[in-house]
Structures are given as C-alpha cells and as structure tokens.
Amino acid sequence: MTEDVQQEGLPDGPLQEEAPWQAVAGDPSPGSRRHFVVRLVLGGLARFVCLMLAVSIVVFVLVGLSPIDPVQANVGQAAFINMSEEKRADLAHYWGKDTPLWERYIGWAGSVLAGDMGMSLRYNAPVASVIGAYAGNSLLLMALAWVASGILGFLLGIAAGMNQGRLADRLIKGYCFMLASTPAFWLGLVFLAVFAVWLGWFPFGFSVPIGVASSQVTFADTLHHLFLPAMTLSVVGVANIALHTREKTIDVMQSEYIRFALARGEGRLGALFHHGLRNLALPAITLQFAAISEIFGGSVLVEQVFSYPGLGKAAVTAGLGGDATLLVGIALFSAALVFGGNLLADIIYGIIDPRMRKRGAHGQG
C-alpha cells in the first residue's frame, strides 16, 4: 500500500524538490551573495554591540555582588593584618568600595573602550595581555578539537544513518548516548591514566616540555602535548553532531530525490554524496558552530585536568583567586567567541544554501 503511494509520487517528487533550487541558481543578480554577507555582518555588528553591553553589565553586576573584599584580596592576608585602619580605608576608597556599582561600571566601560581592561591581580599584568598570551593556546586546542569532532561526528552520523537498525548503527548510537552522559573532565582523567601513566605515550600535562627553553620548543612538541587534551575534547564533542546527522541521513535517504537517484541506477553511497551531502551539511554546520560554546566550556575543564595553560585555566585561577578584572575580561572574550561562531554559522549557511539568501532578502526585519 505504502509502496504504491510512493511510486505514484515519484515522477513529480524530484521536480518539485528542484524547482526552487534551479530558480535561484539562475538568479540574475550576481552580487546577491556579497550583499547577503554584508547585510549579515552589519546586522551582526549591531547585535554584537548590544550583546556585549548586556553581557558586560551582567558580568559586572555578578562580580560586583561578590563578598570578596577588594582590599584584602589585593594586598594579601599578611599585609592586610599589619595595616593601619586609615590605610585600609584609603585603599578601600582607592578600589572604589564606597562608590555605587553603576559608577564603577561606567568608569570601567570607559577605560575598556579606551583599550584598557585593567590589571590582573593573579598574573600581575594587564588583562588584555594575559588574555592575549593564553588565548593562543586555548584557541589552538579548541580549533583542533572542534574540527576533529565535527568531521568525526559527521562521518559517524552518516555511517549510522546509512546502516539504520544494523549493528554499526546501534554501536554508534550507544557510543553517543554514553558520551552524552560522560563528563569531559573524567574522560580526561581516564585518558591521562591510560595514555600518560600506563602506556606513557603522551606527556602528563602542560603545553611544552618541562626544562626546555621556549625558543627550543618545536611544533612537534606542541602537538605532542596538545594531543590528549584535544582528543578528550573532540571525543566528547562527537555525540551531538553524530546523532543529529544520523537522523538527518535517515530522512534524506527516504526522500524522493534520493529515491529518484537510486531509480536512475546510482548506488546508495553515490546518491548520498551527489544529492544528500549538501542537505546533510547544513544542519551539521549550524550545530557545530553553535557547539563553540560547549567546546569552550569543555576546554575550561580539560585545561584544568591537563594543566594546560589556556584561557580556561586562567578563568579558574581568576575565579578562585578573587581576580575580578581578569574574570570579566575572559567572560567578555568567551561571549565574543560564541557570538562570532553563531554569526559565522549564519554566513556560511547562506553561502551554501541559496534559499536562505533569498529568504533573507525578503524576510529581513
């Protein structure tokens, strides 16, 4: 019964599917792609400013609520006890203990706009330079893990979707469900115990070998140290994208255009690669860019496990050590990163899928 219906629907199915596509492919305005990107970037910029304003206010209020005494935190326990009352009051005034929160915020925001994010207490350096120094390590780690988890997850998802209900599918699905409940830091610990302690294949932590001058550290060393943390992050990151790609693959394989391609004599894999891949890639890309937030969170934990000197480790140090300025700086940086990821996802989405451009042109505002 169902087969009959599908056979009836077959001849006009692919045509309907391809009609809007072809119409757009023959779009007369060649600059539509560029316009699309420009519009997105401008709109994104406005949203970015709004978001940054809001995030900075929220972060500032949260940090301002903290019961940590700035005088005590800044001068240290011993100096604080030996200090005279006037000196304490002086310092309290210097760190603005009696000025209201909004005044402090305006002062802080003004200097941030001037390029000064304040001094980090724990690292004894300007916040901007601390972030600059650690961001490189973190970004390298995240980028590796991000790319690896994206590709691996995508391939696993396709493999599972093509073998729906068979052993491979069940294995991949079980693996993903398992991973979704696995804390990244615990997996890092297990990897450390297995690969670093037991097998001794990889170093126990840090980003460079101990006792080697920084000028002598080779790129291979860096990669060697990067491998375990990146593997931990990407193994955990696979689950989400693999499960989504699996669902999508099943949908696509049951679609009429794939059926038509199969009817023309193409193999299953060929049909998938020639006709399904674009449709599969779209949600995967969106998902993977949206996962930047997750990967950042994961990197905080993983860096802690592997004593890897990155932003996450700096954030934890700042949070535990009462370093408010650095914490605010890192929070803003991470918000910017997440936002950038989402914006890029929108842009790439539009470049890959012409239908999005068209919709964007009509439905803006």
């Binding site: 903290s66 990244a184 830091f185 615990w186 949070g319 535990l320 918000a335």
Partner: protein, 368 residues
C-alpha cells in the same frame, strides 16, 4: 492464508446478499478479488455492508450480529494477514516479550527507585564515608573495598555513594528551581504580548551567549563559592532551554480552538493560562524537567571539580575526582575510574527515566 480465504468467502457471500441494491460496492469488491492484498478486499467489502445496513432495516439485527462475530477474528489476525508472506497461522512470538509501554514504565519506576535508594543510603552512610583507617590506605579494589581506598584509608565506595547522594540532591534542587523559572518565563513570553516576548527571548539569548561553565563560575564567584554558590549557580542557569520549549508549546496552544473559545467567553488571560494551557503543556514540561537533571548533576560535578563547590571534607563526586588527579601519576587509577563510572551510571539512569517518560507521553511514539 487458508483461513483468510475461508473468511473472505463467507464475507463475500454475505455481501452478495446485501449488494442486491448497493451495486457499486460489489464492483469494487470484485475488482479487488484477484490481485490486491487481502486487506484491501476486506475494506472494500465492508463499505457496501455499511451502506446496506440502512437499506435493510428488517434483517439488520442478525446481519449485524454475524458481522460483529466476523469482525473480531479479523481484527485479531490483522497482523498476520498484513505480512502477506504466508506466516504460520496464529503466529505466536517465540520469546515472551513484554509490551513496550509496560517495559518503559517499569524502567522508569526502577530508575526512580534506584535514585531514591541512592539518596537515602548516601545520607545514611555520610558519616561513615569520611571515617579514615590508615592501616587500609591506598588499597586497590578488593572485595572488602569494592572501589578501593584512598590515601587516608577512606572507603571509596562509601565516599562515592555519599557524594552521588549530594549530587542528586543538588540536581533535584537545581532542576526544580530552573523548571519553575522556565515555566514562568515561558508563559510570560507567550502570553504577555510582544514586548514581554522580545524581552524574554533576549534574556534567553543572553544566557546562551556565555559558555555555561563561565556563567557558573561567575555566579558562584558572586555568591562567594561554597555549597550554596554551586547549588544556586546550577539552579539559576539551566532554564533557557526549557523556557524555549515552554514558549513554543504555549504559542502553539494559543492557536487552539478551545483557547480562542475560552477567551471569547470572557475568561482572563491568567485563568486561561492556568486552566487551559498549563495542563496541555504539563507533559512536555515534566519530561523537560527530568531531562534537566543529568545536566545539573554534571555541571555540579564539574564546578566542584574546578574547586568552586563544596569544601574538601564534604563528600562530593567533584571533590573525589579532583583529589584523584594528584594520585593519578602514582598509578592509583581506581580513585578516578569508579567514581566517574558511578556518576555516568546515575546520569544514564536519569536520562533513561526521562526519555522513557517522553516516549510514553508523546502520542507519536507511545505505540511503538
């Protein structure tokens, strides 16, 4: 198949009786006789009977009895007939299988019971878990100490159970608080007009704009760390996803005829929301609530692991794991592996309970 034919034979004979007047139906039935699957033929033949029912009032009673008598076995053997490829008659599954709904429900109840037991036992052994015995320190897993012991001779199994109990309690608190926030904000967004919707959506975007861990660190920083820093931090940051779901559900619900009718009948917004919408979205909401637990527990463990949470003498899974880091290089793998497995098992239990409930509640998958 043989019995099917017999049944169709009787059916056809009966329909011929009826179709003296309802001729169109017979043509269909005859067409279906040869090739089409048995099911089609049957439905085609049922139609003239239904028509005929009105025409032949006088012979209606016996005919109807006969029909109901015949319909019953048909409904029962429907599955066999649908398969087509001549399965054995009155096919009975070789293995005894429980009905899926029963199985899912049983799973749900078992998961809930297991978690409740964990909490109670954890509270009960709390004092014992921190008792140290320096004669038994650094033991690899043995039958007396299933998970081994640490450098102070504390039994890791008891510590893990006590720690998991804390985690589950924090998870309960956090999921409860987050779900209330989500429900209120979702309702406000969907019912409060355009501006409220924009405000709530923006708030959700804002919350999602920061990586979750960073947000948790900030909140716990603001509250001065400690147990409540973590508990409140986890409770305050898990609502955006659920609030989105609630908002979408309510928006859909607002289009429903019964809601329009209620509002035309002069009922207030709040009354409609509470009396007509909340019952409608409650199932989705409950499932969302249960599925919040795993996240909350994992985040609690992560935050404690980073050092923001409970103090080292309190039992907590994050503390256990972060302490184990220092002993990992000495080869004491059991300090990390077993507590972590316990954490995963707990999370999987919650996950299983939540998705089982979702399968039961959702009309689309409830018959699977």
């Amino acid at each position: 198949m043989a019995r099917d034919d017999v049944r169709e034979g009787t059916l056809r004979r009966e329909s011929r009786k009826n179709t003296a007047k309802a001729g169109r139906g017979v043509a269909k039935a005859d067409a279906g006789e040869g090739t089409a699957p048995a099911r089609w033929a049957r439905t085609a033949m049922l139609k003239p009977k239904a028509l005929a029912n009105d025409d032949f009032r006088e012979e209606a009673a016996p005919a109807r009895w006969a029909r109901t008598a015949m319909l019953k076995p048909m409904a029962l053997t429907n599955d066999d007939a649908g398969e087509g490829a001549a399965p054995p008659l009155l096919h009975r599954p070789k293995k005894l299988r429980l009905n899926n709904r029963v199985r899912t429900l049983a799973l749900f109840v078992c998961a809930t019971l297991a978690l409740a037991t964990l909490v109670v036992v954890g509270i009960y052994v709390g004092a014992e878990a921190s008792g140290s015995d320096f004669q038994q320190k650094n033991l690899a897993p043995v039958p007396q100490h299933l998970f081994g012991t640490d450098w102070m001779g504390r039994d890791m199994f008891l510590r893990t159970v006590a720690g998991m109990s804390t985690s589950v309690l924090v998870g309960l608190f956090a999921a409860g608080a987050s779900s209330v926030i989500a429900l209120v904000l979702g309702l406000v967004a969907a019912l409060g007009g355009r501006k409220a919707d924009a405000a709530v959506s923006w708030l959700i975007d804002l919350m999602m704009g920061l990586p979750h861990i960073i947000l948790l660190i900030l909140v716990s920083f603001a509250l001065g760390k400690g147990f409540w820093g973590v508990a409140i931090g986890v409770a305050l940051t898990h609502w955006p996803g659920l609030a989105r779901i609630v908002r979408a559900e309510v928006l859909q619900c607002r289009q429903a005829a019964y809601v329009t009718a209620a509002s035309r009948l002069g009922q207030g917004r709040l009354r409609i929301a509470l009396r007509h919408m909340v019952p409608q979205i409650l199932p989705q909401f409950l499932v969302g609530l249960i599925l919040l637990f795993p996240h909350a527990i994992l985040h609690e463990a992560a935050l404690t692991f980073l050092g923001f949470g409970l103090s080292p003498e309190q039992p907590a899974i994050g503390i256990i794991l972060s302490e184990s880091m220092n002993y990992l290089s000495a080869g004491m793998w059991w300090l990390a592996v077993f507590p972590g497995c316990a954490l995963i098992a707990t999370v999987l239990l919650f996950d299983g309970a939540g998705s089982g409930l979702r399968r039961l509640i959702s009309p689309r998958s409830t018959q699977e």
